[in-house]
Amino acid sequence: MACDSPRVVITGCGVVSALGMTRGELFQRLLAGQSAVRAMPEWELRGATGELLAAPVELPRERLLSLDRKLRRSMAPVAVFAALAAGEAIAESGLAPEELSSGEAGCAIGSTLGSPGAIYETMTLFSQNGLESLPAQQFFKSVSHTAAFNVANVYGMQGVLLAPCSACASGLQAIGVAYDEIRLGRQKVMLAGGADEATPAVAGTFEQLFALAHPRAGQPPETTIRPFDARRCGLACGEGAGIFVLEEREHALHRGAPVLAEIRGYATNASGRQASQSDTEAIERCLRSGLHEAALQPADIHYINAHATGTRQGDAAEAAALRNVFGSQVPVSSLKAQLGHTMGASGAIEMAVVLEMARQGVLLPTANLAAPDEDCAGLDHLRKPRRTSLRYFVKDCFALGGVNAVLVGEVPLPTEA
């Protein structure tokens, strides 16, 4: 990318999460040590090896009904989450409807595979009743770009429409491609982020790989997910959405928009080796590429928000890559003990929390990290909140399929914002 490429800033951010409908509420509940991980007796999963856990969103009905019925009928939860989070982001950025519909504003929202719930429902309806019981918009609720096109329709956006579907890297990849669209001069504004649904079918995928956590006897669900810990036993699915307004910096400054952060670098790659296991060498390459694009050194980074889901292999592979690149001096934490693994939404939701950490001047810890495992050692693990200023941060995501994504951001000092 040429040095004179437009700079890209974040001017709005919205979340729908299992711990709150704004990033401020989400941050405060995380800081208070709350966890959304709970038992899911309403889920049925034949062959599961233990009690099922998840971190579901409890969406207030009035928030759902705030979306017009004719728009809502093509929306599964994944799209509802994205649309509501997008509304928060747009409101914060102060973008007017005519700016969103100008053709200079696009939309890039990723999810693991669209709506797994609607896909399952579609196949069930097909197999049981054929077309007679298939709602008109069932297909639109299901498809891989359902969150992206529904958000575009809700807000009248007529620019580019993209929907990366790369499992748990989807949200961060969406932000990355949105950043590229602006840097290439194709768009002035992009709504970008990720959304996802927690369903038994997706949980079953992890269960089949022995990556799904089950509570130990007598242990409360909220203590089960333990990223980087010696006693970690897997992940729990979460859900929600995180959406950002990305904007060409000059465009944002010209209209007096709030600048929450600048995207300094982005990288994505593949291991090219293995579908299910995180690959230290590939993660390391991705981290170094992101730093290179940001023109930053590892020592410049003030905080790393880790992917760490709580699986044995994934956390160890990530820890090794972080250790190789950053050494032991950069604070690291994962939010998945409290939010579960929100999969395609995780990169975006967790980065939204990072922006709030910067605003509050507090780095949040990895909950339930009682004793870092030997294979996760050698990092500055945050085990309790740490008050500090945060300027440069790294957010990483890794996905089934061997996909990696890294974003490097800069939070402007108050005098620069």
Binding site: R69, K70, N129, E132, S133, P135, A136, Q137
Partner: protein, 91 residues
Amino acid sequence: MTREEIIRQVNAAFVDQFEIAAGQLTEEKKLFDDLGLDSLDIVDLLVALHKTFGIALRNNEEVRKVRTLGEVYDFLEKYAREHPEEIRSVK
């Protein structure tokens, strides 16, 4: 099945599926102009009628001529009279 039973079940489907207040559901109301339905809603109406009454209407030519809510009731009343073995009440 009586006309009153048909009206009750059709209206319940309209309230549930299209979020229209029960008080708005009178016989003279046109589905598109007065109740705000569109062509996609008509597909969903057929799905709702299938779910409610157990009848397959996708290939029914007569149902395509329906324009008002009263005509929906009329259609189903006639259908129940002519095909009593097919139509059922599931609620």
